[in-house]
Amino acid sequence: MMNALFIARREFASFFATPVAYVFIAIFLMMSSILTFFVGDLFSRGQADLLPFFNFHAWLYLFLVPAIAMRTWAEERRSGTIELLMTLPVTVTEAVVGKFIAGWAVLLLALMLTFPLWLTVNYLGHPDNGVILAAYIGSWLMAGAFLAISMCMSALTRNQVIAFVMAVVVCFAFVLSGSDIILSAFSGWADNSVLDTVASFSFLTHFEAMSRGVLALNDVIYFILVTGLWLYASQIIVEQNKAA
């Protein structure tokens, strides 16, 4: 697994060699603050918590994570560096995991840099910092799931734009399955247990509980499952491409 860490380090550094990571982090920070203050009304609602901030995370990730993940494999395939990568003494699994860790670390960095908002609510009142910690952990887990899906989509094609669009569509399905729009389509004929099952596939359902301060084992396992299985799928796809 050491190889995976080396790849992760290399990939992480390559994010910062080009403006990609800076642009991503700047957009993430600005957009999250704008949504928190103007759409979520953090200041005028007068409550010392970060709910208006975390409520928008799924929607932010929906566009931003596919954007940083789209080049992961598509770029390697287009430029042919994938052949080079595959001649190195690393397995496909190590390459997949390494690239994932690098992307996830960038997302963690972006999340950590939102600390001014945390300072803001602590300045304004006395928030429950346990809740905020749980929400941060939940948000990072959810970001990992978005990333795994987006990387898998990137492995499917050599065109970054197609990778981006496909990733947004698939992630959207995962976000939407818990929303009222989809659930109301089922609620006419299905009973509650079916509804709950459909909703349990949604990122929103699982993240919502964590953003209230409760880390439930099944919510954590859900995100690990999504991440793990999509990474496994990426590995199969990359393996397949290599063979082709």
Binding site: L29, G46, Q47, G125, L229, A233, I237
Partner: protein, 615 residues
């Protein structure tokens, strides 16, 4: 072929995913880490035991007007909390509790249901639709209980209230209260005046919730299946009754005692005997609880105003009014009460040898004294009582809750009793003691008036609530009593509130001046404009017309200034908000990204480095 295997593996992964998610939902439901400060979403052991003891399936209908409560952040947050906690109940019940969340939209069937259950609709005003936020619970026997509206101010007792509801639903019969008393609680003919008296108001209130047996202190035994015993100024218990009460307490039964060093409200006792009219405290003493039977508590700070013999109003240090600062805010009995009136109360404490624990419910101010009842009784004049107050007072407990291990008042069962079940000690005493009985009488807390032939009681103190809360809490199961109060979810911006208060203070004076000026101007104007000539028409000279005009102008300018004051009030807060927005949206991201860039330069973060370093 290989492509086919890959595709089929992917399909298998998809199926595996669906299966694992469903298994995960059902299997790992219970393990959780509650990171909230007050463990808001973790049920206490007391609640778990209440849920365990539910026999019949229960349906909970949680009504919250999600649609019509837009913008009411505080209430919506609280509703989320209630909903999440109810889900915890549902989860912990293994199918015995079914929760249904309903949004009663205006003019919907659900709204009719809410009304039929008897929920209260709040009207937020400004032409907004009404908001429902309550709970109805039903069981298979069609018993029905509701919480008409969840009050944010009672949030710390949310779990207690929900568990109580479930407990009451599964114990449909009224709890049995044995009231041992020498007072005429249920009315009857007065031996002094010969008139018929109605029952005491606290007794009427208790009768609505409990099945009460009134027992005079010379009777010989307790009724069967008693849930709670209340000793309300019981003077001398018969030996047999005393044994029954002692054994009831030894077996973990719950007892509430109102023991008074001097019960002055009993006219008959006072007529025959000018001495102190005190309650019996022998049982308490042998359990290890001291109720100062020969001393009365005088409070230098909390005395209520009474009319003296000379006709002037003076503070009476023996007739005291406790405020919320003198009550235990953590206990469900006293947490939401505002005032309790007492008269010639005593103090409760543990005897030095006692092995019990005492939890204070009511206490005096820090300037209280215990004086001998023999010097208190002959002093009629409140002013003279002031002289009995010493220099350095201290705080005394007036009502307390005693738990723990103690010994029986009896060495063995008396001859007339069956001693087979005699218990000489207990590990689990549950006794609440209030060192005053006058507080139960109507005149200290409720005003009665006649309204179209109906007697209307208007309480001016919370004495009645105190008694019903106490009996209600004690009648609940032990599990229910153990549920402690929890933290709150509402966390306002304290800094903004401080700013608001400071600005208000600064501007209020200015505003008052302007309002006074405005009132004066308007009065002048009205006076001028009402001057009419003989034919009734408004007659004004040019000079007067000028004055009217100038006053009108002045009025406009004062109103404008008033609006500015109002605007200034919000301006400071708006400025703070704008600064925070600017810092968070523009400054912080730019600064952080630049810092990040500098760090990466300093670390010379290059993709190739990982490989070169490997050697």
């Amino acid at each position: 072929m290989k492509r086919f295997t890959a595709a089929s593996t992917l399909i298998l992964i998809a199926l595996l995913f669906v299966g694992l998610v469903i298994v995960n939902n059902h299997l790992f439901d219970s393990a959780r880490l509650d990171l909230t400060e007050g463990q808001l979403y973790t049920l206490s052991p007391g609640t778990e035991s209440v849920i365990e003891n539910i026999d019949e399936p229960v349906k909970l209908y949680f009504f919250f007007s999600d649609t019509t409560s837009k913008g009411m952040t505080g209430m919506r947050n609280y509703a989320e909390r209630v909903k999440a906690l109810l889900r915890e109940y549902e989860k912990a019940s293994f199918g015995k509790i079914k929760l249904e969340v309903i949004d009663p939209k205006p003019f919907s069937e659900a709204e009719d249901d809410a009304t039929r259950f008897g929920l209260t609709a709040a009207k937020p005003g400004d032409g907004k639709e009404q908001v429902y936020f309550g709970l109805a619970a039903t069981n298979m026997l069609d018993d029905q209980l509701v919480i008409p509206f969840f009050d944010v101010n009672k949030e710390q007792f949310l779990e207690y209230d929900l568990s109580k509801l479930l407990y009451q639903l599964s114990h449909a019969t009224k709890p049995k209260l044995a009231m041992v008393t020498d007072m005429a609680v249920d009315g009857g003919q007065s031996p002094v005046t010969g008139q018929y008296q109605s029952s005491m108001v606290f007794f009427e209130q208790l009768e609505q919730i409990f099945d009460i047996d009134v027992i005079e202190s010379d009777m010989s035994s307790l009724p069967k299946d008693t849930d709670v015993i209340m000793l309300a100024h019981a003077q001398s218990l018969s030996e047999s009754l005393k044994y029954d009460i002692d054994q009831f307490a030894m077996q973990g039964g719950r007892v509430i005692v109102f023991a008074d060093p001097h019960f002055e409200s009993d006219m008959t006792a006072l007529m025959g005997n000018r001495g102190a009219n005190s309650s019996g405290t022998g049982l308490l003493y042998s359990w290890g609880i001291d109720v100062s039977p020969k001393q009365v508590l005088l409070d230098g700070k909390l005395g209520l105003d009474v009319r003296s013999n000379a006709g002037n109003v003076v503070k009476h240090p023996g007739i005291i009014g406790l405020g919320s600062e003198q009550m235990n805010r953590e206990d469900v009995i006293t947490a939401n009460l505002e005032s309790i009136n007492l008269s010639s109360a005593g103090a409760v404490s543990l005897l030095p040898s006692s092995t019990l624990d005492m939890q204070t419910l009511l206490h005096s101010s820090d300037d209280a004294f215990l004086v001998d009842i023999r010097s208190y009784l002959p002093t009629q004049d409140p002013a003279a009582l002031q002289l009995l107050l010493g220099k350095n007072g201290k705080q005394y407990t007036i009502a307390g809750y005693f738990t723990g291990s103690t010994v029986s008042a009896f060495g063995e069962a008396p001859p007339m009793k069956d001693g087979r079940h005699f218990m000489a000690t207990t590990e689990d005493l549950n006794v609440m003691v209030v060192a005053d009985a006058d507080m139960l009488t109507d005149r200290f807390w409720v005003q009665q008036s006649q309204f179209f032939g109906q007697t209307v009681n208007s309480p001016f103190a919370n004495n009645g609530d105190f008694v019903s809360n106490a009996v209600e809490k004690m009648a609940g199961s032990k599990a229910l009593i153990s549920i402690r109060s929890r933290g709150k979810t509402t966390r306002p911006f304290t800094r903004v509130e401080t700013l608001k208060r400071a600005a208000q203070k600064r501007l209020r004076e200015h505003e008052q001046q302007l309002r006074d000026q405005l009132a004066a101007t308007e009065e002048e104007l009205a006076k001028l404009q009402s001057q009419r000539g003989q034919n009734g028409a408004l007659v004004l000279t040019d000079a007067q017309r000028d004055t009217v005009d100038s006053y009108t102008e002045k009025r406009v300018s004062i109103r404008k200034q008033l609006r500015e004051v109002q605007y200034e009030l919000d301006a400071e807060i708006d400025t703070l908000g704008n600064w925070l927005k600017f810092l968070n949206i523009a400054v912080a991201p730019l600064v952080l990204v630049v810092v990040l860039f500098l760090i990466s330069l300093a670390l010379k973060l290059r993709p190739g480095k990982a490989y070169t370093k490997r050697k």
